[in-house]
Amino acid sequence: MAASPVGMKRFYGLLAAVAVVGIGLLGYQLSKPATVSIPANVQVGVKDTAGFHGYVKGVASAPVEITEYADYQCPFCQTFATLQMPTIEERLIKTGRLRWRYRDFPLQQHPFSRVAAHSAACADDQGKYWDQHQKIYDGQAEWAAARDAAPIFRQYAQANGLDLAKYDACMSGGIHAGRIQASYEEAVRVGVSSTPTLLVGGRLYQGRLDSDAITRLVDSLAPKTTSAK
């Protein structure tokens, strides 16, 4: 049986009221300010540099060390991390020929670079730096377009099995802001101006080196020893 016009009117009124309340609630959620902000130009303290010189991958006895200065929100760094690093890792780092040192160089034009670097630093506190590092680079397209990237980094932290209470405390306290700034200042001191930049044997390599070029570079600095047949 068809409802009366009055009944339909009431129904559409109720539907409209629910729609207004729903849109209002979602709008309120969307209007909340960014959850985490990591300041630049903080005062670098002793704790930020003492005993910490970047995140290292590879054995201490490796004959060659490369320091990478990179920015999590830089697209070239993302390509390098996702396409070149797996080969470099298999071919050079895991074979003990190369030690890789990662240092943050957050560019000012990238609003989430420092939050990303800080998220990775907080993961480092729980021994999961490289897991978080990789997830952040893998998901760059996802979070770089977000209004607030911090919740996405938190999702990565959860997926990586971090203790979220500790992670949240670390992020909201911004406790590694000085470490990131120290890394940035070091990069400026050695002459880094773009990302990714590699520092190898005191020489800077700017631009996009691929895994083959890096292998040749390592070969030239420490020729691979082969057993005679």
């Binding site: 129904f11 629910v18 729609a19 729903g22 979602l26 911090a150 996405i152 999702q155 979220l164």
Partner: protein, 143 residues
């Protein structure tokens, strides 16, 4: 008619729940309002995507389609017709099956329950029941 109205209203509620979860998933909302914290476990798990698409987005689109179908079924020219009710019930049945699969994952794979997902499950089951009641009403009317 009351069943179709109920289905439209419930679809709208489901649409907002899915929109909320999807906005969280794409980083537009900081944290989910979820007492136990299991919502984030579910939403960040590999099963929060289905065939490469966010499950919350599938829900959002599904409820949007259900809402449109329910509203069309309420037009005076359609209100006593069986096909719109059949379409609504069929879509809801598909939604219930998909929800059953997701609930299985929550209970037996993830061992985590997201309250918003439970709410959505209740809504899709409600829409299915309303669709079945509407079909029964039409059948009784035609008999």
């Amino acid at each position: 008619m009351i069943y179709r109205m109920g289905a439209a209203l419930t679809s709208l509620l489901g649409l907002f729940v899915s929109a909320y979860l999807y906005l969280y998933k794409i980083g537009r909302i900081g944290t989910l309002a979820c007492g136990s914290g299991d919502c984030e476990t579910v939403q960040t798990s590999p099963w929060s995507r289905f065939l490469g698409v966010d499950v919350a987005l599938i829900g959002l689109l599904g409820y949007a389609v259900l809402l449109v179908v329910a509203l069309l079924a309420l037009r005076s020219s359609q209100v006593e017709r069986r096909p719109p009710a059949l379409l609504l019930t069929g879509l809801a049945a598909g939604g219930v099956l998909f929800t059953a699969y997701l609930t299985y994952l929550e209970l037996f794979v993830l061992h985590a329950i997201c309250r918003w997902c439970v709410g959505s499950a209740a809504m899709i089951v409600t829409i299915l029941i309303l669709g079945l009641l509407e079909l029964r009403r039409l059948r009784a009317g035609l008999a």
